[in-house]
Symmetry: D3
Subunit: 270 residues, 6 copies
Amino acid sequence: MDDLRRFLDEDIGQGDITTEIIVPEGDGKAEITCEDDAVVAGLLEAEEIFQIMGLVTEILVKDGTRVRKGTAVAVVSGSKNKIMTSERTALNIMMRMSGIATMTNDIVTECRRIDPNIVVAGTRKTTPGFRAFEKKAIILGGGDPHRYGLYDRVLIKDNHIKAAGGVLNAMQLSKNVPSGIKVEIEVENISDAVIAAENRADIIMIDNQSPSETKKIMEKIKSIDPNILVEASGRITPDNAKEYAGSADIISLGALTHSVKAVHFSLNIL
Amino acid sequence: MDDLRRFLDEDIGQGDITTEIIVPEGDGKAEITCEDDAVVAGLLEAEEIFQIMGLVTEILVKDGTRVRKGTAVAVVSGSKNKIMTSERTALNIMMRMSGIATMTNDIVTECRRIDPNIVVAGTRKTTPGFRAFEKKAIILGGGDPHRYGLYDRVLIKDNHIKAAGGVLNAMQLSKNVPSGIKVEIEVENISDAVIAAENRADIIMIDNQSPSETKKIMEKIKSIDPNILVEASGRITPDNAKEYAGSADIISLGALTHSVKAVHFSLNIL
Amino acid sequence: MDDLRRFLDEDIGQGDITTEIIVPEGDGKAEITCEDDAVVAGLLEAEEIFQIMGLVTEILVKDGTRVRKGTAVAVVSGSKNKIMTSERTALNIMMRMSGIATMTNDIVTECRRIDPNIVVAGTRKTTPGFRAFEKKAIILGGGDPHRYGLYDRVLIKDNHIKAAGGVLNAMQLSKNVPSGIKVEIEVENISDAVIAAENRADIIMIDNQSPSETKKIMEKIKSIDPNILVEASGRITPDNAKEYAGSADIISLGALTHSVKAVHFSLNIL
Amino acid sequence: MDDLRRFLDEDIGQGDITTEIIVPEGDGKAEITCEDDAVVAGLLEAEEIFQIMGLVTEILVKDGTRVRKGTAVAVVSGSKNKIMTSERTALNIMMRMSGIATMTNDIVTECRRIDPNIVVAGTRKTTPGFRAFEKKAIILGGGDPHRYGLYDRVLIKDNHIKAAGGVLNAMQLSKNVPSGIKVEIEVENISDAVIAAENRADIIMIDNQSPSETKKIMEKIKSIDPNILVEASGRITPDNAKEYAGSADIISLGALTHSVKAVHFSLNIL
Amino acid sequence: MDDLRRFLDEDIGQGDITTEIIVPEGDGKAEITCEDDAVVAGLLEAEEIFQIMGLVTEILVKDGTRVRKGTAVAVVSGSKNKIMTSERTALNIMMRMSGIATMTNDIVTECRRIDPNIVVAGTRKTTPGFRAFEKKAIILGGGDPHRYGLYDRVLIKDNHIKAAGGVLNAMQLSKNVPSGIKVEIEVENISDAVIAAENRADIIMIDNQSPSETKKIMEKIKSIDPNILVEASGRITPDNAKEYAGSADIISLGALTHSVKAVHFSLNIL
Amino acid sequence: MDDLRRFLDEDIGQGDITTEIIVPEGDGKAEITCEDDAVVAGLLEAEEIFQIMGLVTEILVKDGTRVRKGTAVAVVSGSKNKIMTSERTALNIMMRMSGIATMTNDIVTECRRIDPNIVVAGTRKTTPGFRAFEKKAIILGGGDPHRYGLYDRVLIKDNHIKAAGGVLNAMQLSKNVPSGIKVEIEVENISDAVIAAENRADIIMIDNQSPSETKKIMEKIKSIDPNILVEASGRITPDNAKEYAGSADIISLGALTHSVKAVHFSLNIL
C-alpha cells in the first residue's frame, strides 16, 4: 500500500492542476477497457489505487485471465475528478503487469506443448522499485518468479565461483548455508556440472549453452542425482525459449521483465 | 539518493547470502561492458549506487553517448563482495535507462532527417516509481520529457473536455490557470482546433489523426497564431513516428517508456 | 495525508500525557471559532487531521470565505480525548493558512480597485516543509501561487545571468527548455528587458524598480510583444503593493508567506 | 538531517531546470549577507543543507549573535550550480529562524530591564513540521522553548479542567503523572490558583489576566509555596509583554512563532 | 500505526508464501489464548495489527489484567488467510509486552508490601525501535516509564559530572535547563548528595549503593529538602528490588526491559 | 543504516538536553567494556551508530568472540558530547545482540558435545522491528537463523494443515511452490510424518514431542528418504535442548530471541 501511495504521489505531486481547474465536482462512473488481446494483470493493484482515492471498483475479469481486445475489465465509481486524477497511475501499473503476464503466458503455452512440466522463470532483471509487481505478473502469467532478491536463495554465479577459486570450493563453502535455503550454482560445462551434482546442489543452472548441449549436461546431472533441478539460462529469448523445452526442468529468461511490450488500456467516463 | 537506496534495499533485503558465504573478503576491480550498440544512460546513477556501497567508480563514457557493442563504460573498485552485491541494481538501472535513451535517439535521428527542428517527446506512461529516471533517459537520448506529473502543465484531454462541456468551456476555465503554467489541449478535429487556437492555448495536441490530417490541422492553427505549438499524439509508434515529422512541432509517443527493449551490460571482476 | 500524519506525530510524540491522565474517556463535541476578522483557510486540512484521529468534522464555512470575528467555523464530534489531543495541530494549520489567505486577500482587493486584472503572486520564500499548504492558502486568498519549486518553471535570476554571461546568453540557452515549460527572466533595466522580449521570454520580471520605472519598462516590453507577461518584484510589501497596480500584469511579494500574522482560532468543548 | 533533506526535496523536486539549462558547470564562492539588523539563527542548518549538496560553508558569525544590516554571515564554496540550487532552502530556514530569534531577543531584553530573572517562553503555536527549528530559534534568542509537544510536560488547560470536573479533581488525577514529569495547570482566578498551589502543582499558568491581577495571584501562590513557578499567558503580545515583567516568573506568548517577521538574507555569487 | 505497519512488513516482506499456496480463501475465526499466568499487555496493538489486515478483533480481557494460564484473551474474525499471515506479528508484540508487564507487576506487588507508595521504574535500556511499546508495558504493569529518551528530563550521570568538573559545577549549569524540565542527578556518596540537594535537584539518583547506604543518603537528602525525590538505581535486579523498598521513593531497574521472559500466547483457528 | 538512524532518533528526539547544557564541547575518548562473560555481538552496528554521529571506533574484539568479564571491546573517539548522546543506543544494540549470541552459543556448545553436526536454530518469535539484528546475533553465536519472514520458506503449520484439509492435501498443494523455495511441514505423529516424507517435503518439523518420540519419528522419515532434514521444535528450552541432540538434524527454539538475558556493557570517558 505504501508503494501504491508513492506511485500516486509521483504522478500527482502538489496537485492535478488540470482536473482542479477544468472539471466540475460530481460523481460518475468510468469503464476500463483492454485494448489488446492479452492476459490481464494488475487489477487488484488498480483497485487499491482507486480505493486510496476514495473510489469504488467493480472488477469484471479476474487477474490472470486471457481476454480479447475490447473487453471491459473494470468499472470505477465515485468522484469524477478523482477518477481522472488516478487514471494514469492505475493504468500504468496494469499496462506493465499485463505486458509481463501476457509474454510469460505466451512462452509457457508454447513450451508446455513440448514439455508439459516445464517451468518458465523470470530473473532479477526487473525495473528498480517495481520488482514485486513484476514478479507477481510472472506468476499470473503461469511462470515462476525465481529469486525476489539476494536474500531468498543462494545462487553462485561466475563471479562468485572465480572469487571462491572454482566450483568445488564454492560448493564446499555452501555447506554453511542456513538449512532452509536452497543452493543453486551456475555451470558452463559438463565437468563443473558433475562437481556441482556430486556436492549436492539443489539446482544447477546451465548458462549460455545451446539446447542440445544443455540437454547433454542435464542428462549427466540426472544420472548422478535425479532430484537435482536443472535450469537453462543465458541467451534465451521469447523467440528461442521453446527450443529449450525438454532440455531442462526450468527455463529462465530476463526478457520477461526487462524488455516488456505494454498492453494498452483505456479509461472512459461513462 | 533515497530512491537509489530503496532500489538497493529491494534487491538486498536482509542480506546477499551468496556473497556472504561464498566470496572471501578482499578488494578488486570490475569492468562494466555494454553488450549492444546503444546510447548509454544511467552511469551517474550506477556510480551513486556503488558510492552508497563504499565503492569508487571510474566512468569511461559520458551518459548520452552512442557506443558500439563491447565498449567498456565504467570500472568499479573496492570490496569485491560489495561489487557483487550491488551489481544487479546498478545494471538494472543502466539497462532500462539505456534502452529508453537508445530508442529515443533512434527516433529523433530518423525524424530530424525530415524536420531538423522536430521535438520527440515522451508521455506519463512510465513505470510507477521509476519515472524520474525514465524522463532523464529520454533527455539523454535527445528527446523532450513532456509532463513529469499532473502538476507541471495543464493538459486538457477528452475526459476533461467532456466533463467541462466542450472545448470552448474548457478553454474559458483555463483562464484561471496560474500565470506560470502552460495550457495544452487535446483536439480530434479541425473545428475544435480552431476554438482552442482562438482562445490562446499554448500547445494544441492533435490526437489519433493520420499524418496528413495532422498536417492540415496544424496549418490551420498556425494561420491563427504561429506561436502556438502543435503536438501530434496517439497511435504513434517507433515505426511510424517519422511519418509525422513535418506535420507537427512535437511528436509524443508512450512507447519510449512503456515498451522498452533493454540494453545489455555485463560486469566482470578483473 | 502523510504530511498531516507527520504534523500530528510532531506534537503527540509518545503520547498526550495530560489528556491520558486527566480526561475521562467519553464522547463529546467541540466548536472551533475564528477570533479575528479573516479569510478562513485550512478547514479541509483540519478535517483530515481530525479524521486521522477518528473524529467527525462538520465544516460550517467554506475555505476562502471572509468571516467576522466570533464566527463558528466547524464542529468536531467524537472522543473528547482525541479532540483535545489533535486540537493544536489542527489549529496551527488553520491559523497560519488563514493568516496567509487574509493578507493575500487584503492586497488583492486593494490592488484590483486600481487594476481589476492584476495578479498578486507569492514566491518560494515559504516555511520549509509547509510550502504546499502556504501556496494553497495564497490561492484561497485570491492570489497566484507562483513557482511550487525549482522544477515547474524556468526563472532566470541575477546569479544565473551572471553565470551565463549576460541576458542574451541566458535567453539563448533557454531554447533548450522542454516545450511545456514557461521561461521567465529577471531584469533590472530597460535594455535587458528589450533583449529578453526580443528573445521571446514568456514572462519578464522587473526587479527592484520603483512603480514608475516598472511601468516604463513594461510599456517597452508590451510594444515588442504584447503577449509577454510582466511581473513586478523586489522591495514590494503589503503596504506598497498597490502602488504597483497598473505597472505590471503580476505583482509578487515574499511577505505573503515569510512574514505572516496568524489568525486566531479557539476550540471549546461544548 | 532527514528534515533538511525533505526541505531540499520540497524545493528541488525532479530538478532545478533553470540552473541545469542556464548555468555552466564550475566551482565558485558565494557570500550570504544579512539584510536587516537582527539576531542571526539557522546558520548551522544552512551549513547542513549545503553539506548535503556537497558544498563547504565557512560560518562567519555564530548563531545567536546580534548583527548589523549588511553583515556577511557565511561564505559557501563549491559547485556554483549546487549553490544556486540550494540557496532558497538554506535562506528560507535562516530567514524564519532569525526572525524568531530576533523577536524573542527584543522582548527578553526589554523585559529583563524590569525583571532581570524573567523567563520569556514560546508556546506550541508553531508552523507544523518546523517546530524543532522554531524552538531552537527561541533558545538562540534567549528565550525558553516551553513544551516541544504533548509528551514532555503535563499542562492542564481549561478544556481538561472542565472534562475532569474542576481544578481540584484535575490536580488529584495528576498524582498519577510519572515522577520525572512536571505538572502545570492553567487558572483564571485566585481561588483556583490556591487549590492548584495547595495540591503541589510545579507550575501555575495564570491565563488571560491583566498584569496587576496576575501579580496579585502570583503573590498568593508564592505565599503558599515559594518554589512554585508562576507563568503569565494569554493576550500577551510583543508590545505588551514588558508590562508583565515583575508579575510572573515566566511570560509565554504565541507570537514568537505564529506571527514572525522574517529577517532578509541575500546570497551573491562572488 | 506506522510502527505497526513496519512490523507487519518485516514479517511479510514480499508475501506469505505458505498461506497463499496452502490455505483456501474463506472467512473464519481464531481465538488467542494466554499460555502462562501473566499480566496481559499488547492487546490494543494486536487489534491494530489485525485491523491493518482488515480483520475484526473482539478483546476479551483489558490490557493490564492479570490472567490465569489458559485464559482466552481475544477472538479475531475475517479472512482466515489474513489471520494466519498476521498471527506472528501480533503475538510477538503481545508476548514481549506481557512479559514486561508481568515482571513489572510482580516487583511492584512485592515492593509495595513493604512501602505502599514506592514507585518501580524502568530505564532507557530498551530494545531499539520498540521502546514506546516497552514503556507502555511497564505502565500497564503498574510501573513508571522513566525517561522516554534524552529529551524529556535532564539526568546528569557520572560521565556528565566528570566532564562538567564535579557535581557542584553540573548543578550550577543546570540552572539553564528550560523551566518545564525536571533535573535529576546521579550521586554515589553522601557528600555529593548534599551538594545536589542544596542546589535544588528535583530528583537525586543514588547509584550502586546497598539498601542500607541508600537509606542513609536518602534520609540526609530529605533532611535538606523533603520535596526532593530519591531514586535508587544500579545493581538492582528483580530478585533484590524489594530490599530497596523503604530506602527510596523510586527504584529503577533495567531488567524490566533488557532481560524479559516472554509470556506465551497461542492462536487457534476455530 | 536507516534502522540505525531510526534507533538513534528514538532516543535523541528533539535533543539530548543533559549533554547540551552540562557537557562543555571538546574531543575525547571512551572505552566500552563487557561486564559479563559473554559472546560479543553488535560491535559493527555500534560502530555504525557512532559513525552516524561523526565518531571513530576502534574495535578491539571481533563480533562472535567469547570474552571474559572486564574485557575492553572498543574505543570510541571524537566529540565527547556526541559519545554521550549516542552511548545508550549503541549499548542497547550490543547488550541484546550479545545476550542472544551468548545464549545461542551456550546451547550449541552443549548440544554439539552429543551430536557434532546438530544445528541449533531460532524462530520468528523476535522483537518486532529488531529481527534482522536478532537473526544476525544467532548466526554470530553459531546458530541457524531459520526463517527471516513469511517470504523465504514454506512452513506449513497446524493452522495451515487444518485449513487445507490434512497433511496430504497440504503437501499436494505445495507442488505449486516456486522451484527455489524449500517446503517444510510440521507434524505431530508418525503417520503424518510418513505422508510428508513420501510427498517429498524438504524439511519435516516434529512438533511438541519428547526426545525419544522425536527420535522414533526421525528414524522413520530417514528410512523413507535420508535427504529430508528433520527439525525438532516446541517446548524446547535452553535447559532441555541438549536432550534433543541426536534426535533431529535441527533443534529450533523461540527462547533464543523471545526470552533473552542482556549482556552488560559500560562506556567510560577516558
